[in-house]
């Protein structure tokens, strides 16, 4: 659609400032960003903030409902579980495992993915063909299944889960980065740059990366939401974090037997999990919309 500038005012703001301005106008995405930041802070400082220790048991207070219920106790805002452990403290510490480890996993995936994806993007001939075929195979297997396969080999455990998720996220990541690089390589400004005598390293670092780093952030958010879902799903299946680790999926699985007696011990970890994934998705969606809107400018 043709667009006309009514006011001939020039906008000389930096790309990042313009990016933020557009993003700010998308209110759901902004809310998502705040929740996201809150989770990140919580993940970093949970042991300091939590009122009780993770495995501290209160034998006088078993299965106390959340404090807004009639039977609740104000000492335990979100209630206690069957061993008298404070649900709030456990959930806060769970952010470190579920959210924090997912961020770490997604970051490692990003670093490896960008390196290999760039390599795949600039390579030609038989190397590129081989890489692509290998990607084809692994891409058709969903990340959770791939993670389960890797867990089956490595054996259950939290750190194994992280490795499995990194390995399982990589194919998708490499594929997206490769497509970005190939698209960018075909553009005229890169050709001009190459004709000026720029080396491959120059083309990548000065020409392509400044233009695609925002896309990489979007792919990162997608990887992150998958990582959170996978880590908690594996924890829930008892293949990942083992109790008494406070990973949200593991807490859920641990309290599954209490679903009749104490539904809050099952519902609350799920709420947090849902909020974490939702905020990540909202931020990712907001970023994508800004990128799309800027393309249309």
């Amino acid at each position: 659609m043709a667009k006309f500038n009514i006011f001939s005012e020039e906008s000389n703001k930096s790309p990042l400032a313009r990016f933020w301005r557009k993003f700010k106008n998308n209110h759901p995405a902004l809310v998502g960003l705040w929740i996201f930041v809150a989770f990140a802070l919580l993940a970093a400082s949970a042991p300091l903030l939590a009122p009780y220790g993770v495995n501290q048991q209160h034998s006088d207070a078993l299965l106390i409902p959340p404090s807004w219920r009639e039977m609740g106790d104000v000492r335990f805002i979100l209630g206690t579980d069957d061993l008298g452990r404070d649900v709030l403290s456990r959930l806060m510490n769970g952010a470190t495992y579920t959210f924090g480890l997912s961020v770490v996993a997604a970051l490692i995936t990003t670093i490896i993915g960008v390196l290999v994806g760039t390599f795949a993007g600039i390579s030609r001939g038989i190397r590129s063909s081989f890489l692509n075929h290998l990607l084809d195979i692994t891409l058709s297997i969903p990340s959770l299944l791939l993670a389960i396969i890797i867990i089956a080999i490595l054996g259950p455990g939290l750190m194994n889960t992280v490795w499995a998720i990194i390995l399982a996220l990589l194919p998708q990541f490499i594929h997206s980065i490769r497509n970005l690089i190939v698209d960018e390589l075909n553009k005229d400004y890169i050709t001009a740059f190459r004709l000026d005598g720029a080396s491959n390293w120059h083309i990548i670092s000065r020409g392509i990366f400044p233009n695609i780093y925002e896309h990489i952030v979007v792919i990162f958010t997608m990887a992150l939401s998958t990582a959170i879902l996978d880590i908690s799903a594996l924890g829930f299946l008892k293949l990942g974090a083992q109790p008494p680790t406070t990973e949200w999926g593991a807490i859920l699985a641990e309290n599954l037997g209490l679903i009749y007696l104490a539904p809050w011990t099952v519902a609350l970890p799920g709420v947090l999990l849902f909020l974490a994934v939702l905020s990540t998705n909202l931020v990712g969606d907001g970023l994508r919309q800004v990128l799309k809107a800027r393309k249309a400018d």
């Binding site: 692509n132 075929h133 084809d136 195979i137 969903p142 396969i149 994934v277």
Partner: protein
Amino acid sequence: MILDYILRRLGLLLFMTLMLSVFTFSISYLFPGDPLSNLSGVPSSNFAQHSELEDKYLYNSNYFVQYIAFLGRIFQGDWGLSFASGDNVFSHIVDLLPATLELSVYALIISIVVGVPAGILGSAYYKRWPDKLINSTTMVGYSMPVFWLALLLIMVFSLKLGWFPMSGRMGLLYEIPANTGFILIDIALAGFPYKGMAFLDALRHLTLPTIVLAMYPTTVLVRFTRESMLKVMDQSFIKTARAKGLNRRQLIIHHALRNALLPVIKQIGLQFSTLITLAMITEVIFSWPGIGRWLIDSIYQRDYPAIQGGLMAVSLFVILATIIAELTYTLFDPLSRNQAHGKV
């Protein structure tokens, strides 16, 4: 042209299955324990038995010969014995796969029936309230962990309201002979015994798992259909049609839909792989006797031959579904045939 494409895809399929079989063969060495008992499923106890197995599995030859022997056994249906049950792994898979497939197929049908029209509706009312409603609902559904959704539904519909049972495929009262393994078809084949009550009972057992499983693919399809419609609606031929004086309904039904739904077909096929994975979690929660639950149980029990066989069956299925989705897409859309490899 098209033949060339099909041949190339079949080549890829062959390559993928080859890689898969190499991988499956090699994990019996990667797993802890004796590779020979991992392959055969017989925990070797005495010397005579051990050397007998060594002869059968050509264990003293090099890896390549062993691999060829492995392929031969795969084709004969001798997938080793399960540590846990002592039965042939292959017969387990044949028994269990239909239950998973049945669940996945119903979930896929529901997600198509709900997802595609919702996506079209969203794009037709772009940026108005139906679109916003659909968009935010899909965002919520997209972010919902599948196991938590299952637990919520169980809490509300099984524990509180008692409308639906929370586990299994069928009430214990009814006995249906298993012919095909697909429970609804089996009941129909048996001529709707117990005055159709068995059929209704099976439907009630199916409801919750199907809804849980359908959630994620539905949201993906809604988003994909909407995006695809919006992309088509932005193109010049739509503007031309609008300039000719067509109204919105004609525009969407006659011009936009046909072009927008083509990529959706491919997406539907790709959803199958996601479904099989999510089905594993759903099966665990709803105690559905499918291959996913069996596979997860095998991982708990370190039942290596079963893990090997289960992974191979599931992965093979996923790869087949992906290739079939691509082929149907290509049959419908000639433009896509020119694309090179490296795209899934």
